[in-house]
Subunit: 554 residues, 2 copies
């Protein structure tokens, strides 16, 4: 069996100028980066109407291996393309951290991939480096402000802004910086996040243009004064230079799938402390250029789709036409109680017991958000015919749309059934509504997500979170949407509660404002914002030969 | 008077494809980055002969403002271009640190600039970010190795590898990392350098291709074991992944001057702890594509030209045809004892007293290295006719070639006299030789540089340096060329000793190996490898409007 990189390297890509031309993108607004990547100027597209249908690909609560949202998205777009439709993908960019760590790259899999896979997984067009530079310029200006007299009266114990690096580097999680005496800064505690966890990443992904970007960057809170007033990037006069650093990074990147379907790969914020979707500029461009835009959101639908719909769609003025919930037989058996090492063995009883997890996600999409929904069963080689038949039969019995997806093995051809169902759903009437009103109080918004999406009995705030809620409300940050930071493995905040749990409550331990991104982050536990490398990092196996051919990426 | 960025933005650039075509670069080996930047594949050029003449632009010992080497290089290339010659520039890339700090960008000045000035000064084609990522991947793998059991027995007190960021950030000079308990790494002292000070930068600039690059990266020493054996990047299995991260960064970047002369801008190592020249791949490509290659080296000729000739030319197999020593009336008066605030006032006596600094540099080039040399007087608005006449007269009386350069004010037209003189020199016989033999001992090499170039009475090593010399010799690193880290303001190691001092000795306080770059660094004092931001960073004035137009860069 061929590896992903072998399949990708065997693909004869079209010149990106040709991909652009077929998409109707004129050469004037195309900025090539090498022969197979390009940036588009989103401002130049704004005259076109947003004519495309928006299709969100989300998933059930995943197993640690993931259920193949990106692969399904790529295959669905390829299938629409095969069926003669003008389809455009809008996906997230991968981070270097996981590429060198344990997870590997993120450009789809099997015969449903975006290419050039190596470039996309390495530096791509430099967006993440630009975000890192903007983040770290702000850090340097913040500490320099303190060193040069601290006119803003920043309390060094209340600095909330961290430095970042696009690397899995646990050694930088907690540091003391500014050591070495007077000329070398002011000693204080600090830490690094991985670049994708930077608020700059979330800001870039939610900004609708350069002016909005600069406004959002300027509003970011980096610290508090000794008397607890917020200090922003604008107070430090960093917003102009940061915007200059990001002027190209805000432009969506155009690449292609193995089957030459155009793909806009742009931005990649964390799906816990941030909203986990590609950029609004890329989704917007796709809607103006194609008839069908296929996009995805991180983790399961309780986190990913919820944030996509309540945060990204709200800020971007987006209305999806259909939602695809990806499920695998393996994950359903996992939710039904099958052991991790037995997920490859036929187990109809566990499978049936796991279905409520899937059904709750579908119900949330259709009943809470009022959107048409289809379940895509992402076929794995270990799935048996009986298992596949059981899922299909149970879904149909409950009136749930379902389609088998075999895109990993067959590319677009394996996604035609799903594509046809999606096209049909796009023509059915929808009544899109948000899960909550931003005008409600913070408690009311938390409560709406917990009761309506998670089916919890309510939300508890720790005394710490209650204090933060009071402070954030008094500072006027209470009318922002909520970004939940919660385990992706369960509807609840307990990773071990599988299936469709009932009779539980959600505990919010921390509330923070991301004033630039424009949301409040509600943390239900400790979230790791800087991963570590495993015992044998993937980096050890990556190599490049004299001709520049890369091996060992996966 | 127009600012540099105003002049640059008023330029109507040619499409980079056209610049490439006029240079004879086929579209197959051109990888455009936007419309006005491109990378060239150096491997594809290796079939062409190295037919071009190599012209090095260096300078007298500078004032803190610099004497205009880049501006003179750009203007000289434009002048050759105007005279109908196929000229190619080969220059260094600017670092983000100084752009946001106090010094500003580095793309020439006035009417002798490379463009697009904003892109070149910001991320350009991402080379420096790639170098930073490779550097920091090695750091993460090093600390992960220790965390996961430390099979190589690395002594955490003897780690020599630092992390890096392309930013002026004094707060990161000295840190303690790995805090927060067992899962968060191993506590130890650490620090960040600015990216241009990373050995990866020097390696990239001295590598002749991907294979050489990987070999050099693998040889880099990152730490010592408890029993003092060196640990390399290859021991940590990081060299393959680092090379993969650098596979595009090693390709030279093509841009143009205001007058559309092709310019390869690539690499930019520090000129003290490293060799301070653009990449060998860029210089090599320029020599294969043009008839005249104009390149420069950092600081004054005692540091820049010495390292260019003894390190870069040695590793690159390069032989210059002529050397330009840039001098300014201001700097000559400074060497002659004029006060800093009076450099703009006519002072013929100080000017004459300062000439020996210039003459010693010229003599070094002609007598030590056996190369033809011309002095370029980089004209400033404050220079008087009498001053300019005096320099010219004194040079001519001593048989020193001299030409007035007015490229800052007039572009290529102002460099024609210099260009004619350079072309003439390129036809005179040369007898290029190095200052020292690498086979000599470390002491002998240090002594050769100190006596022949600086005219010191000899070299003293501190007891610390003597111990290091012994260790490096026993490890077999003694046959490498020497990279002197010394003040750029004087021939001596005392910045206050101006002119052409005699009767002094050089003190080497530290000796380190850069085994990947392939040189020994001899430090004569404390060298700052992480700058800080000033009271009002340049970043505060940088902005970008809704159309992406940048202001405030200088």
């Amino acid at each position: 069996m061929k590896t992903d990189i072998e399949i990708a390297q065997a693909c004869t890509m079209l010149p990106i100028t040709q991909v652009a031309e077929e998409l109707g993108v004129s050469q004037e607004i195309l900025e090539p980066y090498g022969r197979y990547k390009a940036k588009l100027d989103p401002a130049a597209l704004s005259a076109l109407p947003r004519k495309g249908r928006l299709i969100l690909v989300t998933a059930i609560n995943p197993t640690p291996a993931g259920e193949g949202k990106t692969t399904t998205s790529v295959g669905l777009a390829d299938a629409l393309h095969r069926l003669g439709k003008k389809a455009v993908l809008a996906l997230r960019e991968p981070s270097l951290g996981p590429v060198f760590g344990i997870k590997g790259g993120a450009a789809g899999g099997g015969y449903a991939q975006v290419v050039p896979m190596e470039d996309i997984n390495l530096h791509f067009t430099g967006d993440f480096h630009a975000i890192g530079a903007a983040n770290n310029l702000l850090s340097a200006m913040l500490d320099n402000h303190i060193q040069q007299g601290n006119a803003l009266d920043i309390d060094v114990r209340k600095i909330t802004w961290k430095r970042c690096v696009d690397m899995n580097d646990r050694q930088l999680r907690n540091i003391v910086c500014g050591l070495g005496g007077k000329v070398n800064g002011v000693p204080r505690e600090d830490g690094f996040d991985i670049t994708v966890a930077s608020e700059v990443m979330a800001v870039l992904c939610l900004a609708t243009g350069l002016k909005d970007l600069k406004g959002r960057l300027g509003r970011m809170v980096v610290a508090y004064t000794r008397d607890d007033r917020p200090v922003t990037a604008h107070d430090l006069k960093a917003d102009g230079a940061m915007t200059a650093l990001l002027k190209d990074a805000i432009k969506p990147n155009l690449v292609q799938t193995l089957e030459h379907t155009p793909a806009l790969i742009h931005g990649g914020p964390f799906a816990n402390i941030a909203h986990g979707c590609n950029s609004i500029t890329a989704t917007d461009a796709a809607l103006r250029l194609g008839d069908y835009t296929v996009t995805e959101a991180g983790f399961g639908a309780d986190l990913g789709a919820e944030k996509f719909l309540d945060i990204k769609c709200r800020y971007g003025g987006l209305t999806p036409s259909a939602v695809v919930v990806v499920a695998t037989v393996r994950a359903l058996k996992h939710h039904g109680g099958a052991a991790k090492n037995e997920l490859g063995t036929e187990n109809l009883s566990a499978l049936e017991k796991g279905l409520p997890n899937l059904l709750q996600h579908v119900e949330n999409i259709t009943q809470v958000y009022g959107l048409p929904c289809v379940v895509a069963i992402n076929r794995f080689p270990t799935d048996t015919e009986a298992e596949l038949a059981l899922v299909e039969e149970k879904c149909k019995a409950l009136g749930v749309n379902v389609a088998l997806s075999e895109v990993w093995a067959k590319g677009g051809e394996g996604g035609e059934a799903l594509a046809r169902e999606v096209m049909r759903l796009c023509e059915t009437p929808a009544d899109f509504r948000f899960c909550y009103d931003t005008d409600s109080s913070i408690e009311e918004k938390l409560d709406a997500i917990a009761r309506k999406i998670y089916r919890a009995d309510g939300v508890d705030l720790t005394s710490n979170a209650r204090k933060q809620l009071k402070q954030l409300t008094s500072l006027g940050y209470d009318k922002l949407p909520i970004c939940m930071a919660k385990t992706q493995y369960s509807f609840s905040d307990d990773a071990a509660l599988l299936g469709a749990p009932r009779g539980f409550r959600i505990t919010v331990r921390n509330l923070k404002v991301a004033a630039g991104a424009g949301f409040l982050v509600a943390l239900t536990g400790d979230i790791m914002t800087m991963p570590g490398l495993p015992k044998v990092p993937a980096a050890e196996n990556i190599d490049v030969d004299e001709n520049g051919k890369i091996t060992g990426l996966f």
